[in-house]
Amino acid sequence: MMALKRKDLLGLRGMTKAELEEILSTAQDMKSILLSNVKKASYLQGKSVVMLFYENSTRTRFSFEFAAKYLGAHTASVAVSSSSVAKGESLVDTGKTLQSMGIDVIVLRHPMSGAPHLLAKHVSASVINAGDGINEHPTQALLDMFTIKQKKGTLDGLKVAIIGDILHSRVARSNIWGLTAMGAEVRVAGPSTLMPPDIEKMGARVFYKVEEAIKDADVVMGLRIQRERQQKGLLPSIREYTRLFGITQERIRLAKADALIMHPGPVNRGVEISSDLVDGEQSVINEQVTNGVAIRMALLYLLTRRDYNAVH
């Protein structure tokens, strides 16, 4: 029984538990392909996947590219500088052009929230959101959830603390939607200027003291702090941020003894998280990367099965 009958993966908002579970269990199968000696399956043979990136992200692009290739798809990458978003060919026109070339899946990374939703409305190809503005980064959250589930066996009832710049974090938004749908308790902590309004209505608990958020947590996730937040006046200094909100060895002791330490990367070592924690025993940061490929394989598989389902 297939639960995922969507054309697109635009975000985790509104996803049902059944859909999320199907993605996570498919990722489990994909991970075994990924870890096998010959990384080759034919599920996407004859399909084409294009990576349309309006923002630089080598890590996410490679992850999708390898995922598609391991499944036998044709792939291509299009890098458009984000400065040309407003001036160049419109997103809708670009999408229609790709469509005419017979593309089955468009993986879109874009600096503006809602861009994948716009594209999805205008193309019949599947659109996967690989990060849109400050809205969502659903494949990152799915790989986070997959990693937690592999380590803890379940997501239900777990306490997950997400620390940092929640306001600008698409990773945080996707994780809040996904984790709460799976029954986890999500706590968010950070400076009040980096906390979006009414986020508790999304189902998260808000803390302004990092210690309280971390207390008894099963998972502690750090988010990248960008230096420009200081220039824009959202933070007095990065130094004060690190002192008051940095994830440190001492603070981690407040969490459960077997708590996982996660980060979507790239890490600012010594800024949002101390270097020894990144490389320490509780860290699953490198495993997150492996799982990222598995999750993306799972999504490519599920979304390209859609037509098959319709027929049979």
């Binding site: 419109s90 929230s113 309004p197």
Partner: protein
């Protein structure tokens, strides 16, 4: 001679509607009474319908010159006529900007040649809308500008705003203020709140509007000068204006239908047709705007008709142009959401959409009276219909109300005694 027969008349003056025929000749209303159809060579049957003064819009964007692909004075005034507006005041943010007497005359001459309703230019407060130097307000007035506004942009410099209000007061000109503190807006694109959090769109705090409303009220109060606040959208703005009016400040204000009919939830799905400035707010603000309309804090309803081409809307939300094509839904939205719900009587709605805006702009319109210009509309208040933007006369199909079922429809529009819309069809 034209006769509008058997309608129920709301003339904008008497408190109660009455049945009467209206006789029109040479652009003027010559008789209001019974059984007058015999002398007329054209009769409009208004049986079971209501006869109101033509609507007056204090705030619209006709886009000509410079943005004719979005709208021009021909299409814009046809759209206005279809919506029941017989007089409209158009904002100065065209290209070139209406910031000198020649441009005011240019707009008037185009309107005379191509317009089907009466067009009253609003001229800029500052040259090029740049917020640096005042326009020649005296000459603008002589040329026929009905008010002054940098609408589309705020005047951020408080001293310049103070001088503008002072100089305009001396010239007997009204300034219409677009209240928006740009430093507070930053790169925000929708109302700051739960929906901006959910959609991951940068928020615009309500304070961006309210700080400027407060500033403008204080400046007007200090100078004892009149000021008109455009497009009031928040509870806080309504309250600031309410208090100012109690103190006797010469402040008037308008809201637009979308601020009492829609909320920021309409943005969901990144609906760029719901992108407007100021942004759609919350249901609490909608309630406050309705309350402000009811208790008289909000004097008038304007459309802020802001037509855009599909190319300016079918883009990423952050890149999409602000604005709603408003002429052709304004009356029905107001009737459905204010009169049908018991917030305003139909007579009060006529005050807010005809009589008061004409008074604020100081133009000869807004009532049905013998001797006055024959700007009259016939509306069917029982008619329920579904909004279909593809049928708009405006070039701008950008309305979040597409598909909404509304009650109350304008059937005929008469401008200076000339029938410009008949049976819901604009005929010139």
């Amino acid at each position: 001679m034209l006769c509008i027969k058997n309608g129920t008349v709301i003339d904008g003056i008497s408190d109660v509607p009455y049945k009467a025929d209206i006789l029109i000749d040479k652009g003027k209303i010559i008789h209001i009474g019974e059984n007058m159809g015999n002398a007329a060579d054209e009769v409009i049957d208004a049986t079971d319908k209501w006869v109101l003064p033509g609507l007056v819009d204090s705030h619209c964007h006709l886009r000509e010159p410079g943005f004719e692909y979005k709208e021009d004075i021909g299409s814009g005034t046809r759209s206005a006529a279809a919506g029941g507006f017989t007089s409209v005041a158009c904002m100065a943010n065209t290209n070139p900007v209406v910031d000198n007497a020649a441009m005011v005359n240019y707009i008037k001459s185009i309107a005379r040649a191509k317009g089907v309703v009466k067009v009253y230019p609003v001229a800029a407060v500052t040259k090029g809308l740049e917020g640096q130097e005042l326009t020649e307000m005296g000459e603008l007035k002589e040329a026929g500008a009905v008010a002054l506004s940098d609408d589309g942009r705020p005047i951020m410099n408080s001293q310049l705003m103070r001088l503008a209000l002072q100089y305009a007061k001396g010239m007997g000109m009204l300034i219409i203020s677009h209240c928006e503190d740009l430093s507070l807006v930053g790169d925000g694109v929708m109302n700051d709140g739960y929906m901006s959090t959910v959609l991951g769109l940068k928020g615009i705090t309500r304070a961006a509007e309210e700080v400027m409303v407060a500033r403008d009220i204080i400046l007007a109060e200090v100078l004892d000068a009149p000021i008109h606040i455009a497009h009031v959208s928040t509870r806080g703005s309504v309250e600031l204006i309410r208090q100012a009016k109690r103190r006797g400040v010469k402040v008037t204000c308008e809201t637009a239908p979308h601020y009492f009919c829609a909320t920021d939830e309409w943005v969901d799905g990144y609906n760029t047709n719901a992108k407007v400035n100021p942004p759609l707010r919350t249901s609490d603000d909608v309630e406050a705007v309705k309350q402000g309309l009811k208790d008289g804090t909000i004097d008038i309803i304007a459309t802020d008709h802001a037509p855009h081409h599909r190319d300016d809307k079918e883009v990423e939300y952050s890149l999409a142009a602000n604005g709603i094509s408003g002429f052709e839904t304004a009356f029905s939205l107001a009737y459905t959401h204010l009169v049908e719900t018991g917030i305003l009587s139909i007579q009060e709605l006529v005050q807010k959409m005809s009589k008061r805006p004409a008074e604020i702009l100081n133009i000869d319109a807004g009532t049905i009276q013998v001797g006055k210009p024959a700007d009259v509309i016939v509306v069917d208040l029982h008619r329920t219909y579904t909004v279909d933007v593809s049928k708009f006369y405006s070039k701008g199909k950008n309305s979040p109300f597409n598909g909404c079922t509304l009650k109350g429809k304008v059937i005929h529009t008469i401008v200076d005694g000339k029938v410009v819309m008949k049976n819901e069809k604009v005929i010139i």
